[in-house]
């Protein structure tokens, strides 16, 4: 192997690009994979190997930790929304929506119906974009460069739609307390339907080149099996949990916004291996497309109405009101920045592309949060590395990592 350089620490130490290893016992080596590795990066897994078999694995997280829980305690309630978005910028609406809803719960208000549909619209657009991002990274891990290029190209369709809707490609800050920032532009639903048709066709292409590919099947089948009981015990979430046979989705178990009015199913697979997780994600994209179709129909049928709770625009200056009524764009008044939230506690959760995110929000009645606890989907899934990886070959580690769809910035918060 040409890439190996003998380290100067000892004869038994090997230096491989992106990895560092040392001998820690008879036939036992410790290998440090990451934090810079040829994939998503920013996360280290320390494995101990006997020959090619991993006997112990330990995830070492925190390389992109941004102390969000602490930072949010020092700023106004509304300023926490753009902060929390940075957890998963391509899944911004899903990630911030539960926080917005938790604060709305404390305020005792609810967004108008149209705003709820618009939130669901962006949530599902984000979800599809995030799944495609995950597929792309998975392709890199498996050395399948077409599967890297295609989803990243198709993701652009959804990112462009989100930009048209919100004005930003990734960090949209779309849901705010009491509603959303903008109404849909003219002609948006037609483009949305076009995108849905395009995506259905592309999923068929993905099936031919990736999902049914014998090489991919050989790499993924019976690899990284998470048994149902263990998945529950570890608290694994999202598509990974459902691929292990647990029918749990926050959109069904604790419906929020208008998910209880929409017709969609929760796909479940029983196998629990990496290959089942691929199928799970493909099925979830199809369900998201189904939701988007219904939302597009609803938006076409219903006339425009305010997308912001009246509490916030009733007291707005006349110019703001004019902009709001004419263009459907909400200009946030100063009242948002100095707003005090009634004392209390609220717990809210939502289903992001990678699984469940939960916010514990506590207010002492001031204009800043007293305590916010965030626990994100990837942080829940990190336990997989410790409990599932041992027993596999080193070659299987990238396959498991990719199939879990682990996203370090989201896990580290």
């Amino acid at each position: 192997m040409s890439g190996i350089v003998r380290g100067n620490v000892g004869f038994n130490d090997l230096k491989i690009p992106g990895m560092w290893s040392r001998k820690i016992g008879k036939d036992l080596y410790e290998v440090f994979i990451g934090p810079q590795h040829p994939g998503s990066g920013h996360m280290r897994i320390i494995i101990r190997i006997d020959g090619d078999i991993i006997v112990e694995a330990e995830p070492d997280m925190g390389y992109v930790h941004r102390t969000m829980e602490k930072l949010s305690e020092g700023r106004a309630w509304i300023k926490a929304i753009p902060l929390f978005e940075r957890m998963a910028i391509h899944d911004a609406c899903n990630v911030t929506l539960p926080y917005v809803r938790a604060v709305e719960k404390l305020l005792g208000i609810e967004a108008p119906l149209r705003a709820k549909y618009l939130r669901v619209l962006l949530c599902e657009i984000n979800r599809i974009a995030a799944f495609l991002y995950g597929f792309g990274i998975f392709g890199v891990f498996l050395g399948h460069s077409t599967m890297y290029m295609w989803p990243f190209g198709d993701r652009e369709v959804w990112v462009e739609l989100a930009e048209w809707l919100t004005g930003a490609r990734l960090t949209h800050t779309y849901p705010v307390f009491g509603g959303v920032r903008r109404d849909v532009p003219e002609g948006f639903t037609d483009s949305l339907r076009k995108a849905i048709r395009y995506m259905r066709r592309r999923l068929e292409d993905y099936r031919k080149i990736f999902v049914d590919n014998p090489v991919i099947r050989a790499r993924l089948e019976d690899v990284g099996v998470i048994p149902r009981n263990l998945a529950i015990e570890l608290g694994i979430t999202g598509p990974n949990l459902r691929a292990s046979g647990v029918r749990y989705d926050v959109r069904k178990n604790h419906p929020y916004e208008v998910y209880d009015e929409l017709d969609f199913e929760i796909p479940v697979f029983q196998e629990g291996d990496a290959y089942a997780r691929v199928h799970q994600r493909v099925q979830e994209i199809l369900q998201s497309l189904r939701i988007l179709e219904q939302v597009a129909d609803w938006l076409d049928k219903h006339p425009r109405e305010p997308v912001m709770h009246e509490r916030f625009w009733k007291t707005a200056p006349p110019l703001y009101k004019k902009i709001f009524q004419e263009t459907g764009r909400v200009k946030l008044g100063a009242v948002m920045a100095i707003m005090k939230i009634p004392q209390g506690k609220a717990y809210e959760r939502g289903e992001t592309a990678r699984g469940e995110i939960s916010y514990y929000v506590e207010s002492d009645g001031g204009n800043k949060p007293y305590r916010i606890r965030i626990h994100s989907a990837s942080a829940r899934n990190a336990l997989v590395y410790k409990y599932i990886v041992p027993g596999h070959r080193v070659m299987d580690l990238p396959a498991i990592y990719g199939s879990i769809d682990y996203f370090p910035p989201e896990a580290d918060r």
Partner: protein
């Protein structure tokens, strides 16, 4: 399942360990206050009753009152009715003696999160299999950054004088 039914279930399961129960706004978050000494017994019974994983583990620093509140937010994957609710098992420990017991052997899903509480608040979880910082580096974790007496000095508020 109504929130009151969940409260009844919790009262039946935990018996006289329950000190106080509160249903918060939104009717889906139920906070159950218990004694610090009975947390392991309470957690084991709650797991038997169907709350099969922890959604999150957290602590809140009430500096003025000199206490930490540790909260295990429990929920269910198996039971559809229970999965709508979050039951927060909460207890207080004194701020000057931040020590408690670990639930990592009862709830495996709490293992990493107890490490997070440890690094943020400096709360020692006795009996934890591998208690060390999870996200922070050890020198930062020593400063216990999530406590209220750790003040982040950034973004000073700029006061603009009004032009006449």
């Amino acid at each position: 399942m109504e929130p009151q039914e969940v409260v009844d279930l919790v009262r039946r399961v935990l018996g006289d360990m329950v000190r106080d129960v509160k249903i918060w706004k939104g009717n889906d978050y139920i906070e159950v206050e218990i004694d610090a000494s009975s947390i392991r017994e309470a957690a084991a019974r709650m797991k038997e009753a169907g709350f099969d994983h922890v959604k999150d583990v957290t602590a809140v620093d009430y500096m003025k009152e000199g206490r930490f509140r540790i909260i295990y937010n429990l929920s269910s994957y198996n039971n559809f009715d229970l999965s709508y609710y979050i039951v927060g098992l909460a207890y207080d420990i004194p701020r000057d003696k931040p020590e408690t017991v670990s639930l990592a052997d009862i709830y495996t899903s709490a293992e990493f999160q107890e490490r997070e509480v440890y690094e943020g608040f400096g709360i020692i979880f006795k009996g934890h299999p591998d208690l060390k910082p999870l996200l922070l580096s050890p020198p930062v974790a020593e400063q216990k950054p999530l406590r209220k007496d750790f003040i982040v000095r950034e973004e000073p508020e700029i006061k603009v004088e009004k032009k006449r």
